[in-house]
């Protein structure tokens, strides 16, 4: 850590406080909206606050990142700054890993402990006294209580999910190819490979949406379909949300490449998005194995 140039400490900024306000609107609006749907509160007002918050957040993200980008392009950022960003992004991804870990943990817990107990196996198997006739199985097609309707059928892992796996793994390759192209300063190649990655992401999301429609309309696999539906949708749902976010980030990067941003030395923005994309990919592999296949 020798020869440090002075570290860039930004001027006062209005973004953070406005961003806090918009988070407040998002949170309060979401609470009011959702309560409204459940019959306690004013959905209309909630939606207004929610959308206002989301709109503000959108503007802030564009503006704030815009600031950072122009500072970066103005050469204000030292190599040390670059390392700060890298640490920041890495730890952010670690926090995302832990977020998914909570849901994977829940999945493993119900599969290996709770459901067998309810079905009479293991140390708390006596619980079956309360659910006569319940048979433990995974995937759980017939939940313990008759008041909860399990799924009629499951998603076949060897069709859309397998295809989606191939799509995402391919996209991890294409983004790496884009990165290599960037290191060689081959800008058209960068744009092409990025575009390919984005298309793969979009197709993935499309398939996922199709799968959800199928699940709801044909398979009876819904949020209400007992614990299988719950774990299925929370895992694939949050993953899908992350793919969507990742795709948006890729689009931003592509636009920046087209505007002539980044060079073979300075392209943290690009790399951060690439890391994120790889992370989303790895989570999917876990999902494919533990939600669909096994």
């Amino acid at each position: 850590m020798s020869a440090q140039a002075s570290y860039y400490v930004p001027e006062q900024s209005r973004w953070p406080i406005v961003a806090s306000l918009s988070l407040f609107l998002l949170a309060f609006g979401a609470g009011t909206t959702i309560n409204g749907f459940s019959g306690q509160g004013d959905t209309g007002l909630g939606l207004v606050l929610l959308l206002l918050g989301a709109l503000m957040m959108g503007i802030i993200l564009v503006g704030w990142f815009g600031n950072v980008i122009s500072e970066s392009r103005a050469g204000l950022y030292s190599a040390q700054m670059d390392r700060s960003f890298r640490w920041g992004m890495s730890w952010f991804i670690f926090s995302e890993v832990m977020f998914f870990a909570a849901f994977f943990g829940a999945l493993f817990y119900v599969r290996t402990l709770a459901v067998p107990w309810l079905g009479g196996e293991g140390e708390r198997g006596i619980s079956q006294m309360l659910w006569p006739g319940f048979v433990a199985e995974w995937p759980l097609m017939n939940p313990p209580s008759e008041s909860i309707q399990g799924p009629q059928a499951l998603v076949d892992p060897w069709h859309i999910p397998l295809l989606n796996t191939v799509l995402l793994i391919t996209s991890s390759f294409t983004i790496t190819l884009a990165h290599h192209a960037l290191l060689r300063d081959a800008r058209t190649a960068v744009a092409r490979w990025l575009l390919a990655t984005i298309l793969l992401g979009v197709v993935f999301i499309g398939f996922q949406a199709y799968e959800y429609v199928e699940a709801y309309t044909r398979l009876g696999l819904t949020l209400n379909a007992g614990i299988y539906g719950a774990t299925f949708f929370i895992l694939t749902g949050f993953h899908g949300l992350h793919v969507t976010l990742g795709t948006l980030m890729l689009v931003v990067i592509l636009l920046r490449v087209l505007k002539g941003h980044f060079d073979s030395q300075h392209h943290f923005g690009f790399e951060g998005v690439a890391w994120y994309w790889h992370f989303v990919d790895v989570v999917w592999i876990g999902l494919f194995l533990f939600v669909y296949v096994i």
Binding site: S6, R14, L23, Q80, F94, V110, P144
Partner: protein, 532 residues
């Protein structure tokens, strides 16, 4: 760390874009300065401490005598819940982040935090999050009333409508904590002055590095568990409902996977502060620097393996019960290493007892008592008797109030002259200390007895055999509570006036922060000092 030598401390030189604080309210709203943000965190924390404290006093007033006098049972539960949440997330955590903001850049020779704008955002989310949380008190059906541990299904199927707001408040609070922690890690790993190697970092910095890691690891898990609650309440999932194949105990596992590391998040920075103060007033370097670092790391790692000691009575399989019992007991070893280190540092030193040191010594003694009761709770078969009684309440208040809170006060008194440039008013500091010390023990010591005698926690009314000690505890709570007004007075007085303080405020103090002037200049190290 007597080996620290600074050659170039250029706090007063400014580059063109560096200047003093802006004027007016804008300074606080838009600031990117770690000292301003540190102050914001600390003031916010004080406000929350008083708010949570007033709720505690209401609880104690209701429990002054058997029978229902002041509040309805429903409101009592809301007070218990809000008191716990506000103290944990509003008072203790922000106070430590505030101290980190103020001190870490100064201690490692950095110009500011690594990501100053995000730093501002981390802070300003908090007042909004707590505005949501506190506003639930005025909603139909009242505020959350299911305890700060919000076990399902009391917090899902049976919860008041305000639970939805509670969930989103937790979400944005989590975002704030994660961003704050990322910032601290990036600062420590990347912004150290040349020569400031990891094994030269002041212990406060080390303890925060490890705490930040814990925060990033567990806050997302909390977000995950409240998300599952939201789904169960509004979208018909069955995570915590056996009818659909889920399990209410699943909630507890996920919650405590967050919750146990969380309690260490509230004590590790305290250990760091105490490890700064004791050497200073012993005029002697810390006995075992390296072993302190390893002990802190071990506590953090173990903290991921012990969560189910909060759940000994849920009917876990025997092997689980044993595993969590043994793992929990192990934590006494590294914690013991810390206590022994502090004592050995004082041994054959040249001790003086200014206010920060008084709080530090009280911390060591009373935290250890809290640790001992923790160890007793860790013994699963006996925990069947202690669990959910006032014995647990006594345990965690001993580690949190004369633990975390005393450490925060010790740290505040220790660094206040550096922040304001004014010497402490020792006399008033001592008054505050002795009243707090006596008050805290009168409040929480009897709780051990009522717990052992069989009083459950979270009840607004109790059987007659618990009456005497409850009365004592309530009297203590009012003594302790009102003594905190002295703290408020001390801080405000010190900000406004007092003798000018020199750069090295305390005779035995070592470290970069004591090389710069008091008050510390707005931008401390524009060019990094060299540490040899």
């Amino acid at each position: 760390m007597s080996t620290l030598e600074t050659t170039t401390v250029t706090g007063e030189q400014h580059e063109s874009h560096h200047h003093g604080p802006a004027a007016g309210i804008g300074r606080w709203l838009f600031t990117t300065n770690h000292k301003d943000i540190g102050s914001l965190y600390l003031w916010f924390s004080l406000l929350m401490f008083l708010t949570g404290g007033v709720m505690a006093l209401l609880i104690r007033a209701e429990l002054f005598q058997p029978g229902l006098q002041l509040v309805e049972p429903g409101f009592f539960n809301q007070m218990t819940t809000m008191h716990g949440l506000i103290m944990v997330f509003g008072a203790v955590m922000p106070a430590f982040v505030g101290l980190a903001n103020w001190m870490i850049p100064m201690m490692i020779g950095a110009p500011d935090m690594a990501l100053p704008r995000m730093n501002n955002w981390s802070f300003w989310i908090l007042p909004f999050a707590f505005a949501i949380l506190i506003s639930t008190l005025f909603m139909d059906g009242g505020a959350p009333n299911f305890g700060w541990t919000f076990y399902a299904p009391l917090s899902t199927t049976y919860a008041p409508p305000s639970v939805t707001y509670f969930i989103f408040a937790i979400h944005i609070m989590g975002i704030s904590s994660i961003m704050g922690a990322i910032n601290i890690i990036a600062t420590i790993l990347n912004m150290r002055a040349p020569g400031m190697t990891m094994m030269k970092l002041p212990l406060f910095v080390w303890s925060w590095l490890i705490t930040a890691f814990l925060l990033i690891a567990v806050m997302p898990v909390l977000a995950g568990v409240v998300t599952m609650m939201l789904m169960d309440i509004h979208f018909g999932t069955s995570f915590f409902n056996a009818a659909g194949g889920g399990d209410p105990v699943l909630f507890q596992h996920v919650f405590w996977f967050f919750g146990h590391p969380e309690v260490y998040i509230m004590i590790l920075p305290a250990f760091g502060i105490i490890s700064q103060i004791i050497p200073t007033f012993s005029r002697k370097r810390l006995f075992g620097y390296a072993s302190m670092v390893y002990a802190t790391a071990s506590i953090a790692i173990l903290s991921f393996l012990v969560w189910a000691h909060h759940m000994f009575t849920v009917g876990m399989p025997l092997v689980g019960e044993l595993f969590f019992m043994f793992a929990t007991m192990l934590i006494a070893v590294p914690t013991g290493v810390k206590v022994f280190n502090w004592v050995t540092t004082m041994f054959r030193g040249s001790l003086t007892f200014e206010t920060p040191m008084l709080f530090a010594i009280a911390f060591v003694v009373l935290f250890t008592i809290g640790g001992f009761s923790g160890l007793m709770l860790a013994i699963a078969p006996v925990d069947f008797q202690y669990h959910d009684t006032y014995f647990v309440v006594a345990h965690f208040h001993y580690v949190l109030v004369p633990g975390a809170i005393f450490a925060i006060m010790a740290g505040t008194y220790y660094w206040l002259p550096k922040w304001t440039g004014h010497q402490l008013n020792e006399c008033m500091g001592r008054w505050h200390f002795w009243l707090s010390f006596i008050g805290v023990n009168i409040t929480f010591f009897p709780m051990h007895f009522i717990g052992l005698a069989g009083m459950p926690r979270r009840i607004p009314d109790y059987a007659l055999q618990f009456a005497d000690f409850n009365m004592v505890a309530s009297i203590g709570a009012f003594i302790f509570g009102f003594s905190q007004l002295l703290f408020v007075w001390n801080v405000i007085h010190n900000v406004r006036s007092g003798e000018a303080a020199p750069a090295r405020v305390w005779e035995g103090a070592e470290g970069l922060e004591w090389e710069v002037a008091s008050p510390a200049p707005y931008h401390t190290f524009t060019t990094p000092p060299r540490v040899e």
